[in-house]
Amino acid sequence: MKITTWLKNIFTEHSTLFILITPLIIIALVTDLLDDTLTERIVITMFINLILVLGLQLFMGNGGTLNFAHIGFMGIGAYASVIFSMTPQAKSIGLPDLYPIFNPIQLPFLMALLLGGLIAAFCAAIISFPLMRLSDAAAVITSFALLVIIHVVLVHWDNITAGPQTLFGVDRYTDLWMSVIWGIGFIILAYWFKESSIGLKLRASRDDRYAAATIGINMVIVRWVAFTLSAFMAGIAGGLWAHFITSFSPKAFYLTETFVILAMLVVGGPGGVSGAVVGTLIVSIVREGLRTIESAINIGQLLPSTLVGFAEVFLAIALIVILIFRPGGIMGGREIRWLKKRPLSQKNEDGTNTTIS
């Protein structure tokens, strides 16, 4: 189905998109008007995290398998886009061991960003094809193994990265509206994917893999497409983040960030795009609030020692509580919409209605 016909129905059948996007635009407008560096920083980070969460939702929510490698592809996207966007002079300082062939290349930011996303997607497509046949514990361990492998490679392959050191000298291209536009674009993409034929097949295989197989769904291919697309989104998020933060090391793309993104998705509810958006918003706000408290305590020296890890402890506890009492997340896998989607109902022989939603 065409994305344009979907957008036409944005006020009626697909009101979800409208309801999700409007508050985000308002947040962006307010931030723009406030013109406060700290607020802008928080909002840009939130939008980049939103892209990551949407990407994770696309594979994990629709496919039902946990994916730990997501942040690894963010790292690939970050380093790949940086190589193509930095000036040759900056590269000779920031990336002294870079393969000489890349040194003179400098592309406009958007091209570098897209290339970063595509390289991440390409890596994912090649690596993941054989892995998509695994499920359950084996799938989880392989995705975890993949994250470790990507991390080790980023840390040691100093012809591409700056090694374990922090990479400096990236120009700042990502501004507020850049992150907002990509964020909103990916909300539409994630929603469209979920409702598309391939998304529907993926969700069917998540709910019952044997039933899905009997109606001719090739689970491996369907998952593979979702994984690749999800890695593309992670790669773009990585590129945006790299050109926002301007100096980073491979440590940024490891377990800490994985936990935050996973927490956002699980708190909101992995089953739907609304869950991804709501979870990102809530966790971002709570996290910033906790950080403010943390730094206020540290600056005021209210405690004998500095307080670190307080926000993460709180987030971990919140995550466990959500999983215990509301395992489907806040949204429970449903989408927000104001018009009830017209159920496709059919009359059964005994006069009852069967609803297919």
């Binding site: 046949r133 695994l134 993949l146 670190v308």
Partner: protein, 297 residues
Amino acid sequence: MFSLDFLINALSLGSLYALIALGLVIVYGILKLVNFAYGELIMVGGYALFMLGNLPALPWLVMALIAVTIAMLTSYLTERVAFRPVREKSLTAILITSFAVSTLLQNAALLIVSSRSRAVQFPAIFSGSVRLGNVDIANRNILVIVTSTLLLIALTLLLKRTILGIALRAAADKFQMTRMLGVPANLIISVAFVISGLLAGVVSLFWIGRVGSVTPTIGLSPLLIAFVATVIGGMNSLEGAVVGGYLYGFLFSIISLILPQNLLDYREALMFSIVILILLFKPEGLIRGTYSGERVG
């Protein structure tokens, strides 16, 4: 190349890895939970040892026993508080819970102690060595080998000779069936977590004995080792975990010996590539337990 020195080293590494792997698999076998918080139990043991070291002189063995007990208690508590309520929900839910518990414990250590590493005191016997023929063998290595052998024998006796052990093995084989025969599920799962904590506690003594200090993130490496070892050996059998642990210990020693320096950095990546390949082509590992459908295509 395969000198006595090398063999003892590899054997001690293998013994340690076998204990690490066994602690992970004993829970996995029953709950099908890959416990990401397992590494943090080792960290908890280490911090317990560090804090006890600050107290006025206790015999080291007593301190070690208390540290192991604390690791067991932590393991039990994570089961009671976090894993039990989500157990029935879904595999993904319980996996994310274990990831959350891992982050929780790590950051609690950050919050309570510090991110900087803390030196842990060990008795002189740990650092000494004995002369055997013409090679020096570190006492620590001998201690690891002896302790793990004794522990494995004790566990084997527990699992094969006692009713509790038989119930544990039955639960690992077919959990639902075991419950139907009247074995209380909660008890069995708690026992599995306690044994897992015991192994983590003992591992922490030797792991931190090698490094000499403890940090909040110290649990990651043993966790990764447990993954590799269990996948090599076979995730669905306890014997597999032990075999996988020893095998990985030897493999690791050999790789460290023959790989050139610039490739040595990628050692971890290499081991994990092997893990992925095994899961793809021989998902049951070397020792085949009950096979659960992990492949869909």
